[in-house]
Symmetry: C2
Subunit: 324 residues, 2 copies
């Protein structure tokens, strides 16, 4: 569901790329978009308007049509018997809904009661890198500043970055529609809505979801999120503090061995992750790994991942693979 | 000196804008550029190739032609009798060279022996905001991630962002020249060279200069710098920890009263600083002011300033005004 969107179309593509054992696949859209189809290996599959009856009998249903849709239908679809993997934030913090990054907490998925939540994109890539370090040194605090691409805001947002950049280069200014301010050649420290304390919901997600996935509510997460004029790939500057002192070589080795993580860190060769290099890749890349100059318990890292793949579609499909 | 560059031309403009008491102004370039001139109120002034004899008799000499030039000539010009205000990093950490942000440590300027250093752009805007908080709560640590515009890398870098963005929007890729990787629609966590421990010189500057300007070597500064596809204006996500607990309302009031600082922080109205809004402005803007959810000693802020004005030319001219 949501097959015409950026994440939904990436889920379809990922299922075929990873040769997910499919007997049959049904693609749905919210119905606001005209009937269309999706290109898949060997042909095209129609994308039909959603109806609850259409998903009856599905073993696995992926929802990627936003929180409003999920709140309305997710529980009802789950009650039909299959497993629902929900990409929205609607149920992530519900006690009976596992929040899963398969490399980190795969066993949590088994405790589902029909519904499994796919975490927020910026949480997934951070947790994937922090988890092996947390197991060894016990994470106490993560201060994180994000550089999030426009694809996290959907197809129209991607279009706005392109058209507004073209306009700006011609010396013209267009009215922002998909963002609260101009996105072309600008930085906007604001993603999702604000709560009454001045935190964005995106920041609250990073705090709550990190604790839930790592299974430790005593971890302090201190995020600042920003939208940047990048099409695809989220970057994060992370300062992590641990209970135990960190050995830099050992920490690198832990990350090199971690599933889904690639260490890309050779400063003399200007090697470190950037969004353009990581877009379209499945792995999460980490570089600029340095010790806090004033404490052996602090570690700095720059983490980049494709927000549509590991940050959304790939992680959802990996959750499904736990059951396939 | 360096009058054809981005910072040099901004110094000339700023001197006239602020009606600096000028008897005479001489503009020089490194000589690599052909003879040209600068538009000033009421006419144009020739920009001549630099010669040491040309600056003899100057009361104040601004150097904005890079570290190599400054290392070669700054001490010699200072020995002629006037005050040299150097925009490069060449002498900033020398014990006999004051490093001055006029709103923060103006008295340090008086201890000069001919040479005063203008701090690094990303240091100036951070220190300007942290200083009034440091005086009240005693700063212990600042974790900072930067979003730095291409104008910090000079005129050719600005051109590269424009031409590479145009190419990318046409689906073409050009070879990076001014940056280690593609800058259009990308994030590059690398500014200036790397040292042997994997820190960039830009990060080392933020650590050392912050301590020197605030006069407290026990402050821990933990920076990660990144170049972003923005033409003008540096942004910084800062997490500051203090010895004393912070009262949020009082901290805001301190910032509202601080010279050169404007609090721009009204989340319900989507009001916070962005580079496009702050470009061409003299003030340094701070928003997204929040307390650490887990400690009253931590404060988060998003700080934006025009890197060519307060980050370079304006601060240099303000130093000169201390003597005028």
């Amino acid at each position: 569901m949501g097959a015409t969107g950026l994440v939904g179309s990436e889920i379809t593509r990922t299922l075929f790329l990873r040769k997910f054992p499919l007997d049959r696949i049904n693609l749905f859209s919210s119905g606001r978009t005209p009937e269309t189809d999706a290109a898949v290996p060997g042909g095209r599959i129609a994308i039909r308007p959603f109806s609850p009856a259409g998903v009856r009998g599905s073993d696995i249903t992926f929802l990627a049509a936003g929180g409003g849709f999920s709140r309305k239908y997710a529980r009802a679809i789950a009650a039909m018997g299959g497993v629902v993997i929900d990409n929205s934030s609607a149920f992530r913090m519900d006690a009976d809904v596992p929040l899963v990054v398969p490399e980190v907490n795969p066993r949590d998925a088994l405790g589902h009661s029909g519904l499994i939540a796919n975490p927020n994109c910026s949480t997934i890539q951070m947790v994937l890198v922090l988890a092996p370090l947390h197991r060894r040194y016990r994470l106490r605090r993560a201060v994180v500043s994000t550089y999030q691409s426009v694809s996290g805001a959907g197809l129209r947002a991607v279009g706005e970055l392109a058209t507004h950049s073209e306009a700006a280069l011609r010396g013209e200014t267009l009215e922002p529609r998909e963002f609260p301010h101009e996105i072309a050649f600008n930085i906007i420290p604001h993603i999702d809505r604000f709560d009454e304390s001045g935190w964005t919901f995106e920041e609250a997600k990073m705090i709550n979801e990190t604790r839930k996935i790592l299974g430790d509510d005593s971890i302090s997460v201190i995020p600042t999120v920003a939208r940047v004029p990048v099409f695809r790939g989220h970057s994060e500057s992370v300062f992590a503090e641990f209970a135990e002192p960190v050995d830099l070589m050992e920490a690198r080795a832990l990350l090199e061995r971690a599933d889904g993580v690639v260490v890309m860190d050779d400063p003399p060769r200007a090697l470190y992750p950037t969004p353009i290099h990581c877009a379209g890749r499945d792995d999460t890349f980490v570089g600029r790994i340095r010790l806090d100059p004033d404490s052996p318990r602090g570690l700095l890292m720059f983490i980049v991942s494709d927000n549509l793949r590991k940050g959304a579609a790939l992680n959802a499909v990996q959750i499904a693979e736990l059951f396939a």
